[in-house]
Symmetry: C2
């Protein structure tokens, strides 16, 4: 299975979407099930033993270790944000399959089995549950998350049951540290550095710390024509001030990125002052302490806005993920594999979160970034070069054989 | 029919709602049809000749003039904003019915017939069509409005047909200037002045100028973790700056009120920078020229934000209504009727728009405001005193008999 096949399959998976004409594939939807079925077929075609777990994850195992050996995991996720691109997730799953297929074809024996992983919920778009599916594998899925609802009021518990998963068995998805030898994921960079430096691939040093919150602003609904400006408790105007404040905190703290991506104003009529607004924040920095200070500044801004405008502003944490460094031994193997291609070794921090955050609790983790056009991701314009995928497959194969003691 | 009955009927109409537990009654919904049916029953009970027109309006006529005489119109609307109150609209319809019923009971002959009007769409919540139903009666309904869609994508044309109206016959709803002798509406003040001054009722001098626009902010969607702050074209951050700017224009221009009540951000995910945002503005001032300057300042703010942030900001006008003065003769009759109750005559400008805006094109118009608790409207907390309604009924009856030449 070569790079051209990987590219074709990334194209082909786009048909599995919730919305005609754009790629949206959230947890526990028929679209995701369709993608999982397609990939399971390819895993079987490659001779791997497949299974699904209670959290709707898909695995395909190559028995190249001794009986009872742990598994070295490779892969990514198959869910997608609304209106996303074809490579964020599927590229990691399909390159993993290509590499495992190649190693299987050599008949090589390794100190571990190899397992291709296709996670069901990395983007957390539907239930705001960070790394829910890989957290289940890492034994870190909070049972309370099952009661979270999507925007239609459907709980994760009910969605999971309807999609063929098993809420009661999610805890049983957990694997122990002894069962997992490591984790390697290839992912598009989602940033501009490799393209700027003219490099196809780079080694990820770690994943930055990330916090997501939901803010609720409670004011007083009223008539847009008869309520004097001075007497208003306008929840949407207060929300706007908060959005500007969040942006301001990020702009004045180097390395912090902060985003308000969702907002909902009620009652939502042109001639009615909004009485209640909810919005989400997503704040990240490579250093836990710097992130903590930025979050405190956002809280201060919210308090000041609430006091000035006579509204109530509350927030709840949706997710809080500490910075996760990649494993030095695996990073070294990645660097040597890239150098063996005659390429300079570029190290990068990951701006985005990945399943490695959850999996780092049970295994050493590593990631490789692939150059992507314009640094664009979470967008239909995601684009990679087949030639870069060719390089990535060779690098990944060498990483596995190196750490398996067969360089 | 006394004030207690008016109050009971305002209560009773609350059952006709789109949403259990809160009052929402938009154009061409079963909820509005239910309210219209109930009121039609009461009109018939009072001996009035009822009819519906193609725009879903309801009328009940008392033949107290000579054959061929024009009609003096009294009433208000039966639609409601989402989560609205029980008096905004129904109070005007039911007091009109009470007054016409009383005059009918006296057997008085007047130089005009009397007609109770219950308009179908004053709030414009569903299709953003300002005074669509009274505009039809005034012969000023723009046929292009029929192609406007609600948030579900249903056009006004289709909604109207489904609800038993007739899009092709809306133009035929128009009445000529000679057919309409005048318009009188009682409405809750929707402001704090009468309550502050301890007065039950006041005379409206006119309705302020109003402009509604829909702004669209187009940026670039992107990953919340990997897109540096400096490179962003965040449509929601730009929208927030615009909302703050709109508020700022209103705050620094005495008498201007400006509101952003609706906002929608796409794709609407916690970890994705918004690529596209739409929001509405509603800006009002009693003077056309001052309103025009405020709108120009908002445009300037939008241009500055677009240039600074590298986003595109466009807008379309949803409604533009010039200031409408009430008729001096009718105002004088209102003032004398209030004075005859031994009450001081308080004149007020209307901060809200009303059907008088449309009807002023075919007839002299007048309005009376009733004290409402806390100045609150467009809210379930709307509240009036039965004693104030009693005063209003006497005042309205005297206004009609005065202008009819029977003081």
């Amino acid at each position: 299975m070569d790079a051209a096949t990987v590219m074709e399959r990334c194209d082909a998976l786009q048909v599995h979407t919730e919305e005609p004409g754009r790629l949206t594939r959230r947890l526990a939807t028929p679209a995701l099930a369709g993608a999982m079925d397609a990939v399971e077929g390819w895993l079987r075609d490659a001779g791997l033993e497949t299974h699904r777990d209670a959290a709707l994850n898909l695995f395909g195992r190559l028995r190249c270790g001794s009986p009872g050996a742990p598994a070295f995991l490779l892969g990514s996720h198959l869910d997608s944000v609304p209106d996303g691109g074809r490579y964020d997730g599927p590229l990691g799953v399909l390159t993993a399959l290509a590499v495992v297929e190649r190693i299987g074809a050599t008949g090589a024996r390794l100190p571990f089995d190899l397992e291709v992983c296709a996670f069901s919920d990395e983007e957390s778009t539907r239930f705001s549950t960070a790394y829910w599916s890989s957290a289940a594998v890492a034994g870190r899925s909070d049972p309370a998350w099952l009661d979270r609802s999507d925007t239609s009021g459907v709980t994760l518990r009910d969605a999971l049951t309807a999609a063929g998963g098993d809420p009661a068995a999610v805890a049983g998805c957990a694997r122990s540290r002894g069962e997992v030898a490591g984790w390697l994921e290839l992912h598009i960079e989602q940033g501009p550095i490799l393209e700027r430096d003219g490099l196809p691939i780079g080694v990820v040093t770690g994943i930055q710390a990330q916090a997501q919150h939901r803010f609720t602003i409670a004011g007083t609904a009223g008539h847009a024509g008869t309520t004097p400006m001075a007497g208003r408790r306008d929840a949407l105007a207060a929300a706007a001030a908060l959005i500007v404040g969040v942006e301001d905190v990020a702009r004045r703290t180097p390395g912090v990125v902060a985003t308000v991506g969702r907002i909902d104003a009620e009652p939502g009529a042109t001639n009615v002052i909004a009485g209640r607004v909810t919005l989400t924040t997503d704040v990240r920095h490579p250093d836990d302490a710097v992130l903590g200070r930025a979050l405190a500044e956002i809280e201060d801004a919210a308090h000041a806005i609430a006091a000035e405008r006579g509204v109530e502003i509350t927030n709840e944490a949706l997710a809080l993920n500490r910075a996760v460094p990649c494993d030095p031994g695996l990073m070294s193997a990645c660097a040597r594999a890239i150098a063996s291609q005659g390429l300079p070794v570029r190290e990068l921090a990951s701006g985005a979160g990945h399943d490695a955050v959850a999996l780092s609790h049970i295994a050493p983790v590593a990631m490789l970034f692939l150059r992507c056009r314009g640094g664009i991701s979470h967008n239909p314009a995601e684009s990679v070069l087949a030639a870069d995928v060719t390089v990535a497959l060779d690098v990944m194969e060498r990483v596995i054989t190196t750490i398996g003691g067969r360089p």
